[in-house]
């Protein structure tokens, strides 16, 4: 018995029978329509103070636009537009109520349109029409957009409704007899990924389970000012004073210099008993002032528990650290939180808010400019790297000696981690676009060189002999045969290099201190680990990935044109 016979089954018809498909399709279409209707009505009826409105992406954008419009010198495009609109209404500037209403009505109208689309689409499913596909693709895109607009508010069903809407639209598209095109498959994949993301968040919220052991609390005395607290510390009234690091540093020179027998410590390691962490942990923002004699025995906050400690009343140290119950966390299932996995809507609204508080430009514009800068460095490096790779490939293909002598060093150059060599290049060439581009070259040239070499050596002996029979020069063989044969090899290397050059440019920006690129944005948003900056970090990650994808796509398009007559490149069968 051969394996082929063992594997061959009679074909199984996996398709749904048509009536069942139709019933499923129509049911899901009805649900999608109802959900869109529900969302539209909800948004229409929101009053100005409801959290669902004030936390939503358009509202946050509206606040910024109104603020910017009030500044006559603001250069933000949206602010200029909003002012222009206000002047047509006979006002100097738009009011927050107007911008809010604008955003609210856009959401309402599009939700209503989606409901209408789903209703018409239902008829289309009944008629088995082909236009069901574009129609429901539109409805799906609408729901996906709402996922980025509707905030998560406790007690509100809106986000769950949006997710159900996505499920229904995907279901209609999958069950539709019009079939699935590449575009539809792409958006279904996107929709599923987004659903997984929000699904993880939902499950993370429901599995908020932890075993904690309470610890003895602080005995705190509050003082009106830091000076008062330090005087109390000096007099022995308290053992230690918890305060902002910066404020302590201003009042006292840094350890080991002391003033009036006082010193301050700043515990850096995370406090833990055995292996279990103690919460809340002392953040880097806080420091502890001590009497100098006590300092050697007091290196972690726990050693102060039991004694009397002081803090400034209503300070961060008092409200966020000392008044929070101390606990040892034995088990925590709360792994996914708003810090490492923000809501999609939080990330989307981060794009549409200023990068810094009261900033003139939105994060999306700042990231766009950073991406342009990084991409230009990457493209510069890619260009030179590809050229260098081509030249090396040609040299190695024609000189056995040089190949044997130099190729090992070319390979060895890639074993040096780029992160290690990047600072050296920056030291050598200065913190400029040039050094970033050089780092991109370093990461780009290798795949091109190796694949060019492979490609140039790929022609069959017979096709080389053909040219030799016409007494063609080595140069002629290179141009007429070796280069054209190497093209598919070169392009597969260029596609790898295109994405790698973006990675190289970002890594190159990290040590160079260049503030214009994505590298600095990543550093900025990862430096303080707070719920405010992590959505911005996610936004930067998305933009970085986007730059790579766009570059890859550009190279692929060029490849398509150049290799259009090559048998392997197309989908044809020779």
């Amino acid at each position: 018995m051969s394996i082929v016979n063992a594997v061959a089954h009679p074909p199984i018809d996996r398709e749904f029978p048509a009536p069942l498909r139709m019933v499923i399709g129509i049911t899901l279409a009805v649900f999608a329509g109802l959900i869109a209707l529900f969302l539209g009505i909800t948004f229409f009826r929101l009053d100005d103070s409801s959290l669902l409105l004030t936390e939503s992406t358009p509202y946050k954008l509206g606040v910024w636009v109104t603020e910017q419009a009030e500044r006559p010198d603001s250069r933000a495009h949206l602010a200029v537009l909003a002012r222009a609109w206000a002047s047509t209404q006979g006002q100097d500037m738009p009011t927050l109520a107007q911008t809010t209403r604008f955003g609210q009505s856009i959401v309402t109208v599009s939700a209503m349109l989606m409901a209408l689309g789903a209703g018409v689409g239902m008829v289309g499913v009944w008629l088995r029409a082909n236009w069901v596909r574009p129609l429901f693709l539109g409805v799906l895109l609408g729901f996906i957009t709402l996922l980025f607009i509707v905030p998560t508010v406790e007690g509100e069903m809106s986000l769950v409704a949006v997710m159900l809407g996505i499920v229904c639209s995907v279901g209609v598209l999958a069950a539709s007899e019009a079939g699935v095109t590449r575009l539809v498959a792409f958006f279904i994949t996107i929709a599923v990924l987004l659903l997984v993301w929000e699904g993880l968040k939902l499950s993370a919220q429901s599995v908020n389970y932890a075993i904690r052991l309470p610890q003895s609390a602080w005995q705190v005395t509050a003082y009106p000012t830091l000076d008062d607290a330090l005087i109390a510390l000096k007099s022995g009234e308290v053992m230690a004073v918890f305060a902002e690091r910066n404020e302590l540093r201003d009042l006292m020179p840094a350890f080991p210099d002391t003033q009036d027998g006082l010193t301050y410590i700043q515990p850096t390691q995370q406090e833990q008993t055995f292996i279990f962490p103690i919460e809340p942990s002392l953040t880097g923002r806080l420091a502890i002032a001590l009497r100098e004699n006590d300092a050697p025995q007091m290196s972690v906050p726990s050693q102060l528990v039991g004694g009397q400690v002081g803090a400034v009343s209503a300070s961060f140290a008092l409200t966020r650290y000392l008044s929070t119950p101390r606990e040892v966390v034995l088990v925590s299932l709360h792994i996914l939180n708003d810090l490492n996995l923000p809501h999609l809507q939080t990330i989307a609204s981060a794009f549409l808010q200023p990068a810094r508080r009261n900033g003139e430009f939105l994060l999306i514009r700042i990231l766009g400019e950073a991406a342009t800068y990084t991409w230009s460095a990457a493209a510069l490096g890619f260009g030179f790297g590809a050229f260098l790779g081509l030249v090396l490939g040609v040299i190695f293909a024609h000189s056995r000696l040089l190949e044997r002598a130099l190729l090992p060093y070319v390979v060895a150059s890639q074993t040096v981690p780029i992160l290690a060599i990047a600072p050296m290049i920056v030291i050598g060439l200065g913190a400029s676009l040039t050094s970033v581009a050089v780092i991109a070259v370093y990461i780009t040239f290798f795949p091109v060189a190796i694949n060019t070499l492979r490609g140039l050596l790929s022609p069959s002996p017979l096709s080389i002999e053909l040219l030799e029979s016409y007494a063609t020069s080595q140069w002629g063989i290179l141009w007429k045969l070796r280069f054209p044969s190497a093209m598919p090899y070169i392009f597969s290397a260029l596609k790898v290099s295109a994405t790698a050059s973006v990675v190289g440019a970002i890594i190159g920006e990290l040590p160079s201190g260049i503030s214009d690129g994505l590298g600095r944005a990543i550093l900025n948003f990862s430096s303080d680990y707070s719920p405010v900056s992590t959505p911005k970090l996610w936004a930067t990650i998305i933009v970085s990935a986007f730059v790579g994808v766009v570059f890859f796509t550009l190279v692929s398009l060029v490849e398509r044109v150049v290799l259009r007559h090559y048998v392997r490149s197309g989908e044809r069968d020779g």
Partner: protein, 263 residues
């Protein structure tokens, strides 16, 4: 056989070719080969695998060097003849370049030789007309059948009007029916151009149908057993294969090959 043209195109005297090998005994590919080819002849080299027929062709084409003996092509060494582009070559596979269309493939040798573009295009069209593929200039190789690809390869070999055409089992990969049609085609081209052809094959009927003389070779070591004069009259047509004269020559070549194998 041509009676008028008697100038010698290829002359081989005591030709030896030995392949050196570090591990085993040296392999004698050709031993004491003597052969004169006259202008306008159609010569077939036939024999079993390993008889050196392809080696002899590659020596003439200067794709490999003889170990000893004398070989002249148009009175020059093969190296000089290759530099002067005096022969065209067709291999077992068509070796068309996939990124060039049919016309550009035929133009390849002309490009290498620096012909002006206008003349290249015109010549390529003439050659494609000659092999009856005039309408396929803009097609790409993958769009053609195996037989059509070989015809393009022949057009390419003839494009620069060489006086000698070297063919290394060009129709070996084709089916019997296509091969017979290609044979007729080749004879027609040969008669129209008056070119000298050296044709390597291991099909007896193909060799007899095409050639004015059949060179029968035997292996280990590769040598010429006999040169058979083929008096089957030209022009040869489809029915030629059914004449007694054709059968006689086929039988003679077959027996020579069998004897050589048993010897």
């Amino acid at each position: 056989m041509s009676e008028t043209a008697k100038s010698i195109v290829i002359s081989a005297k005591n030709l030896y070719k030995t392949y050196q090998s570090s591990q085993s005994e040296p392999v004698i590919a050709l031993q004491d080969v003597n052969l004169d080819v006259y202008a306008g002849e159609f010569i077939s080299l036939i024999g079993p695998s390993g008889c050196g027929k392809s080696t002899l062709l590659r020596l003439i084409a200067d794709l490999t060097k003889a170990s000893s003996g004398e070989l002249l092509v148009n009175g020059k060494t093969p190296y000089e003849a290759r530099l002067r582009r005096e022969y065209g070559m067709a291999f077992q596979s068509a070796t068309l370049y996939e990124w060039r269309n049919v016309s550009q493939n035929v133009q390849l040798p002309l490009e290498v030789m620096g012909y002006p573009k206008k003349q290249r295009i015109q010549r390529a069209q003439e050659m494609l007309d000659l092999v009856e593929l005039g309408a396929f200039g803009n097609h790409y190789p993958w769009q053609l059948s195996g037989g059509m690809q070989q015809r393009v390869a022949i057009a390419r070999a003839l494009a620069f009007e060489p006086s000698l055409l070297l063919m290394d089992e060009p129709f070996g990969a084709l089916d019997e029916f296509t091969r017979e049609r290609m044979n007729m085609e080749l004879l027609r081209i040969w008669e129209r151009t008056g070119i000298t052809v050296i044709f390597v094959t291991h099909s007896i009927s193909e060799a007899v149908f095409l050639s004015s003389r059949v060179v029968v070779m035997s292996p280990r070591p590769g040598r010429i057993t006999k040169v058979v004069e083929n008096n089957v009259p030209y022009p040869r047509v489809f029915e030629t294969r059914e004449t007694p004269a054709f059968f006689e020559r086929v039988t003679e070549v077959r027996e020579l090959l069998r004897d050589a194998h048993e010897a």
